[in-house]
Amino acid sequence: MTTLTKPEDAPAPTASESFLSVRDLNVRFSTEGGIVKAVNGLSFDLERGKTLGIVGESGSGKSVTNLSILGLHAPETTTVEGEIWVDGQDVTDLSRKQLEGLRGNKISMIFQDALTALSPYYTVGRQIGEPFRKHTGASKSEARARAIEMLGKVGIPDPKNRVDDYPHQFSGGMRQRAMIAMALVCNPSLLIADEPTTALDVTVQAQILDLLKDLQQEFGSAIILITHDLGVVANTADDILVMYAGRAVERGTTREVLKSPQHPYTWGLLSSMPGLSGDVDEPLRPIPGTPPSLLNPPSGCPFHPRCEFVDLVGGSACSTERPALPAGRGSACHLTAEQKRQVFIEKIQPRLG
């Protein structure tokens, strides 16, 4: 092994500030082809009432991270190492019973496709009321009343009658609203939204994103918004974490990451997306190659086989030594701060138009 690894910066969680604090998280799956290193040395924090956007492509480990926060990984084939502090409690230490008490109550989740994530066999009202009954001990009729109230909040017309409908009787946008109602029914402190609008039409997506933002104001939940679309986080998130091949490669406030990105992968993402303005005759600048296999990730910086700035670093640092992601604003890249600034201004910004 020639790979030298620097230890990730992992300051002790400061309970006063961070509601959620993930420290040096590693997730491994064993599959027939070998061990998949789905998440590697991931650390991040999230304060109460704030929104963190986690951006990455398929296989970047963004969804796996959040399943392990909820303890929803398959225990036989998955190992989770590291610490996940929620409100001063490390959830990786909790028993199954304790985790069940947390899920849907303090932490809840919105899935990508409401059609498959809602059971076809039970009414919408029952599915919304279930976690409420379980976590608050409410009666059947109280849960039903709460379900009606929540359906009204998320904008389902005529909730008194629609509460007895089955999910297939709802339209796509309404189903996603029902799922939001289900997630918020116990006033969670943390809401994990995994690609909540990817399956929706663009006008419905705009409604749902605004709805999430407005509901966050009312409920005060912290939100983790997982998406592949930088546009989706631009108007909803306070902070952004960019993931690539199971690792965090850049972190900062939304403004910092979108306005002065530092990592070549983030540059690549931004310049491969056409916008609604900008020069149409300028060809897009895609990231060459394909995302790496997590069975056998590249040595050194996982992005180096696709990176066009390896030469700027010089030597073999990119392929032998993995760059560390500093705490706070920063990126995991061997380029010097000055180089990053310069390359972005000279080469990347003109492409973005």
């Binding site: 309404m174 419905v204 509901l215 009312e218 546009g231 631009a234 997306m273 056409p274 149409v280 897009l284």
Partner: protein, 373 residues
């Protein structure tokens, strides 16, 4: 808008207006019957998937077709390639009516109109090698290029950016983006004049999307292939298409050249669509904010008159009774057609509107509460 002129769609005035259209589509309609009833099943209704679509495609141009799910854009694409039989209207290819042409009549045209599908996993036969997949269209149409089919396939693989040595591999050995390239190579095998691309990049990762878009754009420019580019992503359509048509619930609601449609649309639905596109530019809220209510209604019982009226903030009684024709509104450029009784101002800037349009009751009440506190 005292006088509305009726004119047929014409292409980008600079390049195409002199040309004769490659494809002329008029009043294209597709209804899928619904069976039911008692005691004997009979046709009780129809999904009105596409209703009276009229448009032209000129040689070498790229026409974007955008809209949300259920708007009929994919059905339209499938009718243009005659994978579906139209219920009504006409399709003319190079002046020849091919609306109901049978297999034999279509044979010479089949090679000139090709299709690229959305799902690179489902649209390639997993039991055939890449070579066989790409040479398939040549075999079916009995075309023997000079140098043989294999040489041609290798050449095509190179054109789409794949290794010609991979001739004998199977689709599962390729990634999603590479598979889509195989699909493109297959479409190119017969040197088509027109390619219907149905959501060709929406199943791909962001960084891979750009690779395929660039490839298609190169082909379009270098080989002069006309494209009908069907997609729901307005940014990608803008990047790829010189003219753009917007569909809603089976109907064409607006069609114009790229710049006009994206900066000066008239149809309220186009305004709503553009306003909903999430953009990475957070600096200033440049664009107006429009939030519609609910989802697209069912195409089984579409609203009377203007189909958008149930979600439109400008709807009046007239919209329910009278269907707005697709016409050139006064003040609009030639070729910019809109189907609306009460069109919007041709700007999408935030300053042009006194306040946001928020139709959604939940958003409205939440935002009212937020303002109060």
């Amino acid at each position: 808008m005292s006088e509305n002129k009726t004119t047929k769609a014409v292409g980008d005035s600079a390049t195409a207006v002199k040309d004769r259209p490659l494809l002329e589509v008029e009043g294209l309609t597709k209804h899928f019957p619904i069976y039911g009833g008692f005691p004997f099943k009979r046709q009780v209704g129809a999904v009105q998937a596409v209703e009276g679509v009229t448009l032209d495609v000129f040689p070498g141009e790229s026409l974007g077709l955008v809209g949300e799910s259920g708007c009929g854009k994919s059905t339209t694409g499938r009718m243009l390639t005659r994978l579906l039989e139209p219920t009504g209207g006409t399709i003319k290819y190079e002046g020849r009516d091919i609306t109901h042409a049978n297999r034999r009549e279509l044979a010479p045209i089949r090679s000139e109109i090709q299709m690229i599908f959305q799902d690179p996993y489902a649209s390639l036969n997993p039991r055939q090698t890449v070579g066989k997949i790409i040479s398939g269209p040549m075999e079916i149409n009995d075309i023997n290029p000079p140098g043989g089919r294999e040489a041609r396939v290798r050449e095509l693989l190179e054109t789409v950016g794949l290794n010609p040595e991979h001739y004998n591999r199977f689709p599962h050995e390729f990634s999603g983006g590479q598979r889509q390239r195989i699909g493109v190579a297959r479409a190119l095998a017969l040197e088509p004049k027109l390619i219907i691309a149905d959501e060709p990049v929406s199943a791909l990762d962001v960084s891979i999307q750009a690779q395929v878009v660039n490839l298609l754009q190169e082909l379009q420019r270098e080989r002069g292939i006309a494209f009908v580019f069907i997609a729901h992503d307005l940014s990608i359509v803008r990047h790829f298409s010189q003219r753009v048509a917007v569909m809603y619930l089976g109907k064409l609601v607006e069609i114009a050249d790229r710049d006009t449609l994206y900066s000066g649309p008239r149809h309220p639905y186009t305004h709503a669509l553009l306003s909903a596109v999430p953009e990475t530019d957070i600096d200033v809220q440049k664009r107006e904010r429009i939030r519609l209510v609910g989802d697209v209604p069912s195409p089984i019982m579409p609203p009377s008159g203007c189909r958008f009226r149930t979600r439109c903030w400008k709807a009046q009684d007239k919209c329910a009774t009278e269907e707005p024709p697709l016409v050139q509104l006064s003040g609009n450029k030639a070729g910019h057609l809109t189907a609306c009784h009460f069109p919007e101002d041709p700007t999408i800037d935030v300053g042009a509107r006194k306040e946001d349009v928020v139709m959604d009751p939940a958003l409205r009440s939440l935002e009212k509460d937020a303002k109060k506190s």
